[in-house]
Amino acid sequence: MELLRDILAWALILAGSFFTVVSAFGLVRLPDVYTRIHSAGLVDTVGAGFLLIGLMLYGGFTIVSIKLFLILAFIFFTSPTASNAFANAVYSAGIKPLLAKDNKAKDGDKKEGGPSST
């Protein structure tokens, strides 16, 4: 039982670390503000969720777990609110989302211009 709990905690913490790194890569690599908002939202739900639940399992049922649960609940409620505020602010600032058509045209330019660093 103890072993099972530890294995589950390890798996959750490793999954949380993985998704945190993936989300940060998305933040650097994605082409558009809106897609970057999506990528930053990933760490708040999947990354923080897995990491904090894994730490809760590891810590057992103590005051530490309760604090971790409070952090998790707070991130869980505020992160979508912040993402919504971001999308609203970006849209009302007049920045249009990058559509598939524009993206293809951009790729075409890149091919004509030869290998370019992005």
Partner: protein, 97 residues
């Protein structure tokens, strides 16, 4: 070992978020990167507490999560209206007069 791996992963993610904060073409990219950086700071404090075997720093992480959200909303409002005290709608302004 496990917590060392998690710490390194969170630190790498924080570095990548800083890269976006420096590169960001628009101001929203920068604010978004700083917001993501703050969330990862909360995770880093939580993991570091377990790494050092003294998970008493979680109060700081909780406080940081609260401040991070409020400051993001405040900065977004400041970017849009260039004034934190200004009402966000005309209707509200009339009601206040």
């Amino acid at each position: 070992m496990l917590f060392a791996v998690a710490t390194i992963a969170v630190l790498a993610a924080m570095g990548l978020a800083l890269v976006r904060a420096f590169l960001g073409p628009t101001v929203f990219d920068r604010v978004l990167a700083v917001n993501a950086f703050g969330t990862k700071t909360v995770l880093l404090i939580a993991v570091l507490g377990f790494l050092s075997g003294r998970p008493e720093f979680l109060d700081i992480a909780l406080l940081y999560a609260l401040i991070n959200f409020i400051s993001t909303i405040a900065v977004l409002k400041f970017v849009r209206y260039a004034d934190l005290g200004k009402p966000t709608r005309e209707r509200d302004g009339e009601a206040m007069r």
